[in-house]
Assembly symmetry: D3
Homo-oligomer: 237 residues x 6
């Protein structure tokens, strides 16, 4: 039995609030249960130096946790003077996933910077971040189309993400913190709105897992992401 | 005339939301108009090394801005690898002000870490931060009393802050961004609930200012802070 | 057709040279074709602070590339003053994978530090590193048993890794650099000697991939790793 | 009674030695009693990037303490790898104050960098630094006029600074270290040669202070600065 | 008697392996006994900013030790976030020595970056590095001539280096680690192939040394370097 | 002919002012002509961790240049966030040289930290620093003997240093900046008061130099240092 009484395949309630803050071209508060992440998309003209003059755009992401988004206070990375390996790993994952959703030629020589800042953490911050960031990205692209900066929509498809894992021997979907910290296996999956795979990262925290377990986890993820995409679409309509 | 049609002495609406996030012992979202700052107070046992064994506590603060809290995106300080001089100046001010409000002997060998993170900026982030942080501090102290960690209340008085300045030749209270960036003189004032001064920092951005102008600004600040303290008290009751 | 005329399932020749350098308790040069990585395992008494007094050990890894291990010179990370996100991501993967192979209780309060330094790069440096590091780990554990520091062998199983990917529309095994940089999908798989999964990281570099493609890639990985484990066993016997 | 037997309003002897070192366009050793600060002004063609092409100049300042300028040795900031919050706060104050004294249009696209390095510390290093830096600035501006780089004098007025505070319940002027470390209230005031206010920074180190105490402190500061400006003028004539 | 039974004037066997790795324009593994250093020379078009437009080239060097090249593991400088003073001292020595061997006008606006990475350390890593780097430099220059980038050979002469020192009261040549750590005096000498001095760095680790001892050490160095240059020439022919 | 009309063997006037600042146990301003370095010696109880419990002391040094000690302003190392390779090389040289002059057993578990800060630079800052630091060291040791912390004098001998070089083809002593920047060969020599060698660092900036030139330079250094030691002794008496 899960601590929250959810069924194995049941995700937490997902809430997507657009225009959460005023300045960003896209600004989304995404909630997966008690996990809350603010995702902003900033549309900037120009591209990083390594892309100049190639007629294509760039999408990149940064991730952070507010020091007291967690149960006990974490050291502020700005004060510590560097981002942790975990932070870098997560922001690389977010950026890579979103780049897969955008046609860089259609974006032209423009850059979209996604900032994902965790306001409150209860497991699954990276999958919530990807899910919310995609909606913020859509808003920023629409803003640019409204301004006439973009003629056509560079979005190839929506993407969303969910975590799955093996907890007390059973595959479950969308782990909250208490499940995550006790899981034997932990897997993050990013998919398109049509169920194709963008990214899969599975780790045996305890025991190695079998091919069959991997297939069960993938099934759970596919089902969970399908529902989350529905929530994205509802928020965007 | 002020851009917002406020009278010179009129502060923006101040909103204080307690228990904004779940994990911190004190968690407050403070809003001065469109300026929104999340202030958390973390109660931690023990004190920094320079205070060990002296039977007294410590209060310190950190400040940050989310990269897209501002009109155009600011570089993330964690990615840049250091906090700016402005950030350090502000967090030192917040910490110093709050320490003035706490009896360190009554706090015992415990530390309260205040984190002030700007979600959305429209001028006056440091004065909003001090105002919200004080409420978060009260909540953290009450938490510790509820837990039996503290026997008596170490709070000496409430503190609150407001910015005042000379804009188009006239002293005004609680500057928003568009006023702040055009002000000739900018002053931040921190006071106790009974109107005594904790901190005063006035700067001639344009022309030097006179003794009389300083007195007018102080009057505005005293009046503004009195109202803000009322809002703090209402939020806490 | 692959640039090297290999069949899709064919790995490059894998060579494992033990005792490559003199000082480390385990020192292995691993070669996957033209990719050459020096893996050393240092056995150190004691554990990091967060583990002290818990009666268990720790295994961690660091990764680096010599500046001219690559086609054009990369900036030296020591001179630049920080490790890149890619470096941190890789060394976290290596450490996590090796920890899965060791019974930390049997290791006692000892630490094994794995250093993987790329001498020459031609794709697959992280999978070569994991493969070589496992052999260096075995040597360091045996060294400690020979010294009487360990009574029993903490190794749970051998682990090895290989990269697979979709190149010109076809799933292939053990990508060299020219394939890797053109692959639509790239996946790194770490398995135990009995074919259970330790880690799977798949990324759609170009197009999203299907469930069926994932299964094909997993099959290739399982087959490739089985051969690599044979090479590990031969080197260790 | 003050440790030095000074009256409450009495500043320490102020000495200003111009051309203290050979290379800088302005080089001043300023002494407030036992506090000794070397202030150099470097005249450089060009402006920082954010000002390019706007036809105006820039003035900025840096501050440091020699490691053994203090009673016990302080860690060298260059060795530590960063400047403390206190250092940044002080150098921002010095730069801001001096910018108020210069007409940036008349300065043209030139930059003056002020370096204030404390040779020996006995309280009031920031106010001594501002006082000495102003004289070094005048020398650098005159150097540029002598070279024909500047046609007219960009100096708007002299500025000087002094610290005031409440010590053993009584307002006093120009605190030395022993007074400063015991003061209930500490205030730094920067004024023009005609007594207008450039900057005021008052802090309740112990008890909050009243409006009346603030006025007493301001009076002391005004009187003290008037004398210090006389010393500046004598040194410059 | 020396631990290795060498005579006082006897260097360790020196081995020079060219084309040790595939990508660099020059790549040399140099061995002085058990000291093994990989030296690569990277030929890059363009020069650092301070040399632009002057029609001359630049040669620079970087040095590092693999963490477990030493008896006990050293912290990785990339992880620590900075290069040690010792590292910087050595790489400055290597760069300076090699620049003395190259006619910068004939090199044109090109840069050669030398990377010296210690694979295994047993004393004398800096002198081995200089010796190997010179051969890698020659290979890179010949590569550029083969490509038609250089018309004439910018090499002025070969250079090589050896350490000498006073060990148990007697001057000896090419100290291994056990000798080096017990030596009273330690001196590194860099010479041209004709015996002229490029660099001499002598340090009294224990007792100060006399003029006569200096002369004996220089004699040993001259003799040792002559043999090492012969090995360089044999490797290059 | 030398720019200053000095004879080849003639050093600049050397001035040593003790007790230049108030707080340090030893505080010396040393001047070699227009080169002025402030050397302070701080006596601290305890030793660094690697020496604890061994019954011996430690001497270490740090070096810095004030930003405008030079003809054009140098970037402040504290602001830049790290010390340059040149700075580290010099402070290692100063520390090593002074350690040779002290009997660490007699010093007991105490540390002397030498800070050498260049107030004004005109060549030879490192040799002036060593010369002045030795006098500051003597004062700090005498202070400790006066306090009864040390029973016997740990000083083994005075040390002093001078630079020599080949300028326009002729060996000269104590190069000023204009000579130094044009010298073909540059050598720094540290000797004891009886003429034994502590450190010798010679570099061919232009052409390699011969054995005979080395001997001439050494002769000049020996003669120059003898005079400088006389100045030290006069200052100390």
């Amino acid at each position: 039995m899960r601590p929250s009484n959810r069924t194995p395949a049941q995700s937490r309630p997902v809430t997507i609030t657009r225009q959460f803050t005023a300045h960003a071209e896209g600004s989304v508060l995404v909630e997966f249960g008690d996990t809350k992440v603010l995702c902003t998309a900033s549309f900037e003209e120009g591209v990083p130096r390594f892309l100049k003059g190639q007629g294509q755009g760039w999408v990149t992401a940064e991730y952070g946790m507010l020091p007291r988004s967690t149960h006990s206070r974490m050291q502020r990375e700005a004060a510590r003077g560097k981002q942790s390996g975990r932070t870098q790993e997560i922001q690389r994952l977010i950026g890579r996933s979103l780049r897969a959703a955008v046609d860089m030629k259609l974006l032209g020589e423009n850059t979209i910077v996604i900032d994902c800042d965790v306001i409150q953490a209860d497991g699954g911050t990276r999958t919530a971040a990807i899910t919310g960031a995609c909606v913020a990205l859509v808003d920023a692209l629409n803003w640019a189309r409204g301004k006439g900066i973009l003629k056509t929509n560079p979005l190839k498809f929506l993407i969303a993400a969910v975590s799955v894992g093996i907890y007390k021997g059973e595959p479950i979907c969308d782990l909250e913190y208490i499940e995550d910290s006790a899981a034997e296996t932990d897997m993050n999956v990013v998919m398109t709105e049509t169920g194709k795979i963008i990214e899969i990262q599975g780790t045996a925290e305890g025991e190695p897992f079998s091919h069959e377990e991997l297939l069960s986890l993938l099934d759970l993820a596919k089902h969970g992401i399908r529902e989350i995409v529905d929530t994205q679409k509802a928020a965007l309509s």
